[in-house]
Symmetry: C2
Subunit: 216 residues, 2 copies
Amino acid sequence: MLNIEKEQKKKGTKERIRDVAIDLFSQKGYNAVSIRDIARLVKIHESSIYSHYKGKEDIMDSIITSLIEAFNIPAEINLGILPDEYDPQTLINDATMPMIEQLKNPFIRKIMRLMCIELYHNDKILDFFKNQYIEPSYTFWSHVFQKMMDQGYIREYDADLLSREFFSYCIYLLFEIFLFNYNETEYNSLIDDIMNKLSNHIKFIFDMIGLKESKD
Amino acid sequence: MLNIEKEQKKKGTKERIRDVAIDLFSQKGYNAVSIRDIARLVKIHESSIYSHYKGKEDIMDSIITSLIEAFNIPAEINLGILPDEYDPQTLINDATMPMIEQLKNPFIRKIMRLMCIELYHNDKILDFFKNQYIEPSYTFWSHVFQKMMDQGYIREYDADLLSREFFSYCIYLLFEIFLFNYNETEYNSLIDDIMNKLSNHIKFIFDMIGLKESKD
DNA sequence: GTCTATAAGTGGATAGAC
DNA sequence: GTCTATCCACTTATAGAC
């Protein structure tokens, strides 16, 4: 029992260190934050951090693991989630909603912001972003558009190009939010703004690629 | 005469410091580079740097001035450069060519990379990027598309939205190049890749917004 | 303008008492 | 597991000799 208590206390501090580190790293960037800054906010001595982590980089590695878990992207794309009969616009809305939902979670916001900020400086983040986030998304959307074409919902067009046209804008929005329009205190209006822009983008794509008049 | 010689020598060192700083900052980021790193490469003592700049931040400020000068964006948009009769695709190509040309200049590449990397960490860069680069570009392209509509080259559509659809992708490409696909040693194939993607994007926009069959 | 010398501070990290 | 004490490498920056 006493061991379990100790274990929980230990685990608690370790997580507090990680959470404070996420706060600081996502605000100031990895390089601008010191072990001492973290220790000060956790309210333990800086040397105590080394009882939980090997060092500063070890904390960052632990955060990156959280990042990967938070996104939890399946290795293989499950296209079974796409019903055979479905209104394209609704489908896209449903598929982009998780992105909006993620933005409402402050932990995810911090961790996404950290990802954007440290993308260039951290090889592990870069690898995750390129190979586990961007690339599978392009593949996913390519399949979605191909399916829509096969079912006659949209005009025939290169599915990979369509996927790029659609999803590149989503990544652009990611950078717009976290690199050059970030305001944690007003994230509600920020989310409204993003939803509005995303909605306009989807509207544009379907105004252009939809069947409408041209089918007759 | 002797004064001029001294002046030139002084100016030479000052510029060498700035150039080395651009190299290092754009590779490692501002925080990861020390005055000593710069002095070592310029082959002067670190203290000598303070004869030319007030300190590290002063060097960065000087670089930001170069950045602003390099882009040299006019305060007011000159739509006179747009001829009245012009093939839309060619017009867009001509207007995007300067972007490609800029990428061929190694100095501009470094300074753009630095801009992307330090966007979040540096308020002056952020201000330049948002207010002097992004915003005027959106306005410019909005006017271009409006003019095309007025002349009947493209379908009627919200010009601001079209501008966003077109130019957001350009900014996305900027980040793709400098944040997550950068390779200075193979920048030739990189430029080919960018030209290809940009060309596909322009093709997409005009496949969608062009008159073609629908006018008949 | 460049150097030496040095100040004064911050950084990450470890040893050992409790 | 947390603390005190300490190390030492590295940082920006200045004063003053040449």
